[in-house]
């Protein structure tokens, strides 16, 4: 105890420098936990009588078809979007990995999407995918000389869950490519030339080099990308909010519950479920990637 007191005295200034940020962030953590749990467990009857604790919010949520759709949409969004983000990031990273003259400039260019605010990206896509005569429809209808006719009638992109959420996904992947690229690039740069050269001396071809050196050594970065990106996909809000108003993901469903239907309790309940989805899915990914790593190395 006296040791603690002594070091406290000695490092008083340092302690005072560190304390505010700890209090601030812990304060928010407490607010978030407290209100999330208490709101989701408080049932507000139509006559504003409050019951606590009550699992009724969760009961309503689990029985509402809207929630089921939002959950399935989110799950699909994650399952389709995460590999897409990885693929896009991998393509960019491998392109940059070579030595060429304008490498620095090209890397800066590839970071540009990150600098465009998400809502602006969403609005650009909204304009491009307009019905009936947005640019994308015009191009697919073959109205420009440089592109063949693919469809006969214009597509109403906002009229089906598939297209509306697909366009949201497109925007999300476009905007977040740079983050995946930077993580993968760091991974690629950590593989030294010696390892390839050693493999070559033993007669490895380019495919073998990729399979036995690049892939296993890149796996940690790939795992990071997959986990971070899947979390991002679960919590996506801005793109579906602007591009798919009628087709909910869990994020936009929370907003609808809160603002449009004025049901704070149910919004909090969906939030809690979303957090558990993220934790569960990340745990699954961890387990799965561990298996993959073992498989890749043992062969």
């Amino acid at each position: 105890m006296s040791f603690l007191k002594e070091s406290l005295n000695k490092y008083k200034l340092e302690f005072l420098m560190l304390l505010p940020v700890c209090l601030y962030l812990t304060g928010f953590l407490v607010i978030i936990f407290y209100y999330l749990i208490s709101l989701s467990l408080t049932y507000v009857a139509p006559d504003y009588a409050e019951t606590f604790p009550s699992l009724r919010n969760y009961f309503f949520i689990f029985h509402s078809p809207e929630f089921k759709t939002a959950f399935l949409n989110s799950l699909l969004f994650v399952i389709v979007g995460t590999p897409l983000e990885l693929a896009a990031g991998l393509v960019l990273a491998l392109l940059i990995y070579r030595n060429f003259r304008f490498r620095g400039i090209v890397r800066s260019i590839f970071i540009v999407p990150l600098a465009v605010p998400a809502m602006v990206t969403a609005i650009i896509l909204l304009v491009l995918f307009e019905y009936p005569s947005g640019h994308i429809n015009n191009i697919l209808l073959g109205r420009h000389w440089f592109f063949p006719e693919v469809i006969a009638v214009p597509v109403n992109w906002r009229d089906s869950a598939f297209f509306a959420l697909g366009v949201s996904l497109l925007g999300k992947v476009w905007r977040d490519m740079p983050i995946s690229m930077l993580i993968l690039l760091a991974g690629l740069n950590s593989i030294t030339l010696d390892q390839y050269l050693a493999a070559e001396t033993m007669g490895a071809g380019s495919r073998q080099k990729f399979r036995y050196i690049t892939l296993p050594l890149l796996l940690p970065s790939i795992s990071t990308v997959l986990i971070i990106r899947s979390i991002e996909m679960w919590k996506e809000f801005i793109f579906p909010y602007f591009l798919a108003r009628r087709y909910h993901l869990m994020g936009t469903f929370i907003e609808t519950l809160y603002h449009d239907w004025n049901k704070q309790g149910e919004a909090a309940a969906v939030s809690v479920i979303l957090v558990f989805c993220i934790i569960g899915f990340s745990a699954f990914l961890f387990w799965f990637l561990k298996r993959v790593r073992v498989g890749l190395i043992s062969i």
Partner: protein
Amino acid sequence: MTPMKSFTLPDRSTVVWFVTLCVMILVVFIPIYFMFKYSISDRSSIVTGGDIVPLWPYHPTLKTFAFILGYPDFYRAAGVSFKLAMLTITMSMTLGVPAAYVLSRYNIPGKAVLLMGLISVRLFPDIVSIIPVAVAFARLRLHDTYFGAAMAHSLLALPYVLYICMGIFESIPKDLERQAEILGAGKGYILWRIIIPLSATGLAAGAIYTFLLSWDEFIFSYFLLGFGELTTLPLYLKHKMAFAPPQDLLMAISMLLSLPVIVFTMLLQRYMRSGLTAGAVK
């Protein structure tokens, strides 16, 4: 055969590489090009009466920008955004910079755990943490205030500020401080006269990053300010969308909103890259 030469890829793969490179550069630029194109479109290039919308406006014009910049509502929104961002910088730098210094300079037992704990609040999705924050702020009457919104934005910015500033402080050699100490300088003096001047550029980068984060933030602003008097630029753009405005107006506002972000991100990417990849989830 030199080692480097044996590593050169055959010609066909160079062609594939080059074509892919060009395609990806196009993919990156297409949306930005169209934003630009619409923002300088004249009326006849948007309302075409059945003809195809041209890929380059018939008569490029800056009239839309002139129109927006002559509009008091736009200035008010930009002003709110600016003030809010400044308040956010003040708050998050005041809180974050000293803490980052301590965290980078001392071997505190359990530092990694402490750092994880500090950042754990950001592991909640924005859309999840905003519900409790909005309810709490409504009860504390911080709803619709600069202070409340700046507090929320600081929450978003703090992990980045911590990471960026820790990186900067770590790059200053410890010996400098030792020497000053031997010459009799106190802790406060060292901080104020040695550390801060040496890290000024990096700290400025952190401040600008915070500015950008607050400038284009949508979710927290929307829940905390969306239905009140204070309208930030992203909220202004969102309100405008409700009236189905012509694309040139929408895209010109978008240009004005994203231009500072694009310019500063390009200038400061060196500092930002560490914050982006350090595991801080955005």
